[in-house]
C-alpha cells in the first residue's frame, strides 16, 4: 500500500502547524497576498517552514520536530519574528484567531496551485467558506497501533483542546455566540468527523483501502477528521484547535497534548470505547458553543461535568508526565487560565466592547501577534 506504511517516529515528539490570517493595513480585511509574502520569505532563512494554504488570505507556519514544548516555542517565536518583519515590508498584518471576524467569504481568492484548484472545483463555496484558521498538533508515535490507540483515547479529550484554543467568536461580521465558530465550517465537509472505531492499524488500512477502492479518497489528506493519523510522518494530528492569538499559546497546547498522550500511553487504565464516539458530537458542540463552561459527558465515569473542571482534573493527573517531558509550565499556565475564566474568544469579545468595531479588534489581535512572546 503505497504511502500508507506507518513510518515510526520518536514517541511523543511534537510538531506544530499554525494557519495565520493575512490582513490589510487600511481596513483590516483579509488580504490576498500570500503569494507575495511567500516569495519574499523564500529569499530568507526562516526556521521551520512557511507554506501556502487554500486561499490567498492565509499562510501556514510549520515547526520542525521537537521533544519539548519550549523548543517548539523558541522556534515558532523565531519564525514569527522573521515572518512578521517580512509582512511589515508589504504592509500586511499577521493575526491569530480561528476565523476572520468580518471578511466576506465570496471575496476570497484561491491560491493558484493545482491541489487548491481541485478542492475549489469539488467543494464549491465550501472551499472559500473554509477560510478558517486552525492549529494542528502532531504527536509522534512508535507504530500504527499506538497511533490508533492514541486517537481513540484522545477523542474523549478533544473538548479540552477546543475550549483551550477557542478564538473564533465572530463570523461574517456577527457575534456567533460560539466560543469556536470555526469547527462548524469544517463539519460541512463530507469527509469530516472522526476516524472509524477500528481496533488497530491493520484494520484501519483495510478501511482506508475500501474507501480508496470506491474512489472516495486518494490519500489521508482527503479526510478532514478531528484527529487523523499521518503515516508518512509517523504521527497523529490533532486538528480541532483554533489558531490561538499568540505563538506562546499555540506552543502551550502542544505541551498539554504531549503530557496528556504520555499519560494515556502509560496509565492504560481504560481501553478504547465506542461510547466515546456516541457522546462525541454532544461534547464537541458543548465545547464549541460554551468553551470551558460547556458540559462534557464522560462515558468512562458515566457522568456529566463542566469542561473546565475536567481540564483541571486532567491537568493534575498528568503532572508527573508533564514534569518528565518538561511541560509543567505549559500545563500549569493553561489550567491557571481556565481558573481565571480566560479564553482567546473572551479576549476578542472584550476588545470589541472596548473599541466598538471589528476592524479595531483585528488591529489589536495583529498587534498582539506582532509582539514577541515571553520565553518559557
Amino acid at each position: 500500500m503505497a504511502g500508507m506504511d506507518f513510518s515510526a517516529s520518536q514517541s511523543l515528539s511534537v510538531g506544530i502547524e499554525i494557519e495565520l490570517q493575512l490582513v490589510r493595513a487600511h481596513d483590516r480585511d483579509l488580504a490576498h497576498e500570500a503569494g507575495d509574502l511567500i516569495e519574499r520569505l523564500a529569499k530568507r532563512k526562516v526556521p521551520g517552514e512557511v507554506k501556502p494554504e487554500v486561499t490567498l488570505s492565509m499562510i501556514e507556519l510549520n515547526s520542525s520536530i521537537h521533544t519539548t514544548f519550549a523548543g517548539a516555542l523558541a522556534e515558532l517565536e523565531a519564525q514569527r519574528a522573521v515572518v512578521s518583519e517580512a509582512a511589515g515590508m508589504l504592509n500586511l498584518g499577521l493575526c491569530g484567531g480561528g476565523a476572520h471576524p468580518f471578511h466576506d467569504w465570496a471575496e476570497r481568492r484561491v491560491y493558484p496551485a493545482d491541489r487548491f484548484k481541485s478542492i475549489t472545483k469539488r467543494y464549491g463555496f465550501l472551499a472559500k467558506q473554509f477560510t478558517v484558521f486552525g492549529e494542528h498538533v502532531h504527536l509522534g508515535c512508535a507504530n500504527g497501533d499506538e497511533a490508533v490507540y492514541l486517537i481513540h483515547m484522545l477523542t474523549r479529550y478533544m473538548p479540552h483542546f477546543i475550549a483551550l484554543s477557542a478564538s473564533s467568536p465572530f463570523s461574517q461580521g456577527e457575534d456567533t455566540s460560539f466560543q469556536s465558530s470555526r469547527l462548524t465550517a469544517v463539519s460541512a465537509f463530507p469527509l469530516s468527523g472522526h476516524m472509524p472505531f477500528v481496533p488497530d492499524w491493520a484494520a484501519f488500512l483495510e478501511y482506508f483501502e475500501t474507501m480508496r477502492g470506491y474512489g472516495i479518497v486518494e490519500g489521508m489528506k482527503d479526510f478532514y477528521w478531528d484527529i487523523r493519523p499521518k503515516p508518512e510522518y509517523g504521527t497523529i494530528e490533532i486538528r480541532v484547535c483554533d489558531t490561538p492569538l499568540t505563538v506562546r499559546r499555540a506552543a502551550l497546547l502542544a505541551g498539554y497534548a504531549q503530557a496528556l498522550a504520555a499519560w494515556l500511553l502509560e496509565e492504560r487504565t481504560r481501553t478504547p470505547s465506542l461510547s466515546v464516539y456516541q457522546v462525541n458530537a454532544f461534547n464537541r458542540f458543548e465545547a464549541c458553543r460554551f468553551g470551558s463552561l460547556g458540559q462534557l459527558v464522560d462515558p468512562f465515569a458515566r457522568r456529566k461535568r463542566s469542561i473546565g473542571d475536567d481540564i483541571l482534573e486532567t491537568a493534575a493527573a498528568i503532572m508527573p508526565q508533564a514534569a518528565r517531558l518538561g511541560c509543567v509550565d505549559a500545563v500549569r499556565e493553561l489550567s491557571d487560565g481556565v481558573r481565571r475564566g480566560y479564553s482567546d474568544s473572551g479576549w476578542l469579545r472584550e476588545r470589541l466592547a472596548a473599541t466598538g468595531s471589528l476592524p479595531d479588534v483585528v488591529r489589536e489581535a495583529s498587534d498582539l501577534w506582532a509582539r514577541p512572546s515571553p520565553a518559557s
Partner: protein
C-alpha cells in the same frame, strides 16, 4: 379660444444646469456600461468618451460655460477622491519600508526630470518645460481609484499604485507652486507676492487640511464607531473643506489630500472606521470623467504629435526607472515593478485643473502650458485606464469573478 400660454413654458423650454447635469450623468453611465459590455474596456473610458461626444468638439451639448459652472462638481469629485486616496496613505508603511519611500520619491523625481529634459530638447523655455513636467508628474488619482474599485483590485501593486499616486500628486502640486515665484518675477510682479503667494497656497491648504482633520477626529470620537454616522460626517467635511478651499483660494486638491493623509496618520486613538464611499463616490466619479472628457481637445493633437508622443514616453520611462531599480528591494515580486509603472500611466482631470488654475493667474502662460500638456492628457485619458486595467489584471490582483448578478464583459 382662451390663451393658455400663461401656464405653459416658453418654447423651447429653458433647461437649466440641473437638467444638463442629470443628462450628463445618464450619458456617462450609459457610455461606461457600453464600453464595458461591448468591448470590455474600463468604464472610465466610456465616461470620458461620453463626455467627448457631448462636449464642444462632439455634439456640442455642453459649452465651455458649463464647464466653468460645473467646476464646483469637479472640485467636489476630485476632493472626495484625493481625500480617500490620502486616507490610504500609510506613513507607518513608509517608515518600515525605506526602499518603498525611496522608490515613491524616485518615481516622482524621475517623471519630473524626464519630462523636463524631453521638453527642453524640443526648445521649450525652461519655465514652461518645468511647469509642464510638474503637471505631468501626477498620475490621475481618479482613474487609478475608479479602475481599482471597478475591478475589485487588492494587492501589492494596487496598494503601491495608490501610494505612489498620492506622493506624485503632492509632488506635482508642490513643484508647480514653487514655480510661481519665477512666473511672478517674469511677469514683473512684486517680490513680495512672488514669495508670499506660493507660501499662502501651500501653507493655507496644509493648515486647512489640518483643521479639517482635527474637526473630523473630534466629531468622530463623539459619534462613536457607527459606519452610517461616520459616512455622513466624512462626506460633510469633504464638502465643507472643498468649499473652504475654494473660498480661501487655496488648491482644493492639496487641502483635501492633506486632510485625508492626516486623518489616517493622526488617528492615534483609532476613532475612524475604514472608509467606504461606495455609490456616493461613484456618482461623482461619473460626473468628473464626463466633464474632463468634454474638456478634452483633440484639435491640437496633430500639430504637437511629436512632442506629445515624447512627453508620454519619457514620462513613462521616468516613472519606471526608480520603480524598476528599487522594486525588488522594496518587496515587489518578480515582474511587479513593470506592472506598477504601467499602472501609473493615467493622466486626467487633475492635470486639466492644474493647467486651468495656472491659466487663471497668467492666461498667456496658461495657454502655452495647455498646448503642451492637454494633448498628452487627451491621449492618456484614453490609454491610461487601459494600462491600469491591464497592469492590475496581469498582476492577478483583480477579483476573478463578476459580482453576483453582474454580466460578464462581452455578454
Amino acid at each position: 379660444m382662451q390663451d393658455l400660454s400663461w401656464f405653459l413654458p416658453s418654447w423651447p423650454p429653458v433647461f437649466g444646469e440641473l437638467v444638463r447635469f442629470g443628462a450628463l450623468l445618464v450619458a456617462g453611465l450609459l457610455g461606461g456600461e457600453l464600453a464595458h459590455r461591448l468591448a470590455g474596456l474600463p468604464r472610465v473610458m466610456g465616461y470620458v468618451l461620453a463626455g467627448v461626444a457631448c462636449g464642444p468638439h462632439g455634439l456640442g451639448l455642453m459649452q465651455a460655460p458649463l464647464f466653468a459652472g460645473a467646476r464646483v462638481f469637479v472640485d467636489l469629485a476630485l476632493g472626495l477622491i484625493v481625500f480617500e486616496l490620502g486616507h490610504r496613505f500609510d506613513l507607518d508603511w513608509l517608515g518600515r519600508n525605506r526602499w518603498l519611500a525611496l522608490a515613491a520619491l524616485g518615481e516622482s523625481l524621475g517623471a519630473f526630470f524626464a519630462i523636463y529634459a524631453g521638453l527642453l530638447y524640443f526648445d521649450y523655455p525652461p519655465l514652461l518645460a518645468a511647469a509642464a513636467a510638474a503637471v505631468g508628474t501626477a498620475t490621475s488619482p481618479a482613474v487609478v481609484m475608479v479602475v481599482a474599485h471597478d475591478l475589485r483590485a487588492s494587492g501589492q501593486i494596487t496598494e503601491r499604485m495608490l501610494l505612489f499616486t498620492a506622493v506624485n500628486c503632492v509632488f506635482a502640486y508642490v513643484a508647480l507652486t514653487l514655480m510661481l515665484p519665477f512666473l511672478h518675477l517674469e511677469n514683473e510682479s512684486s517680490w513680495r507676492s512672488a514669495i508670499l503667494h506660493p507660501l499662502y497656497l501651500l501653507g493655507g491648504a496644509g493648515l486647512l487640511g489640518f483643521f479639517g482633520c482635527q474637526l473630523l477626529l473630534g466629531i468622530a470620537k463623539w459619534l462613536g464607531k457607527r459606519e452610517d454616522r461616520q459616512f455622513i460626517l466624512m462626506v460633510a467635511l469633504v464638502v465643507l473643506m472643498v468649499g473652504c478651499a475654494r473660498a480661501l483660494q487655496v488648491p482644493v486638491v492639496v487641502a483635501l489630500l492633506v486632510f485625508g493623509i492626516l486623518a489616517r496618520n493622526l488617528d492615534d486613538d483609532h476613532v475612524l472606521l475604514p472608509l467606504r464611499f461606495g455609490y456616493a463616490g461613484q456618482l461623482l466619479f461619473v460626473v468628473l470623467f464626463v466633464l474632463s472628457g468634454a474638456s478634452l481637445d483633440f484639435s491640437g493633437l496633430e500639430s504637437v504629435a511629436a512632442v506629445t508622443a515624447v512627453f508620454v514616453v519619457v514620462r513613462f520611462l521616468g516613472k519606471a526607472v526608480a520603480i524598476l531599480a528599487l522594486g525588488r528591494l522594496s518587496g515587489l515580486r518578480a515582474g511587479g515593478a513593470g506592472l506598477l509603472s504601467l499602472s501609473l500611466l493615467p493622466m486626467s482631470g487633475l492635470a486639466v485643473v492644474m493647467v486651468y488654475d495656472t491659466a487663471l493667474l497668467y492666461p498667456r502662460f496658461g495657454a502655452e502650458l495647455a498646448a503642451v500638456v492637454l494633448s498628452a492628457v487627451a491621449l492618456l485619458e484614453l490609454i491610461g485606464p487601459l494600462a491600469t486595467q491591464f497592469a492590475l489584471r496581469r498582476a492577478g490582483e483583480t477579483h476573478p469573478e463578476p459580482r453576483a448578478g453582474e454580466a460578464r464583459a462581452g455578454t
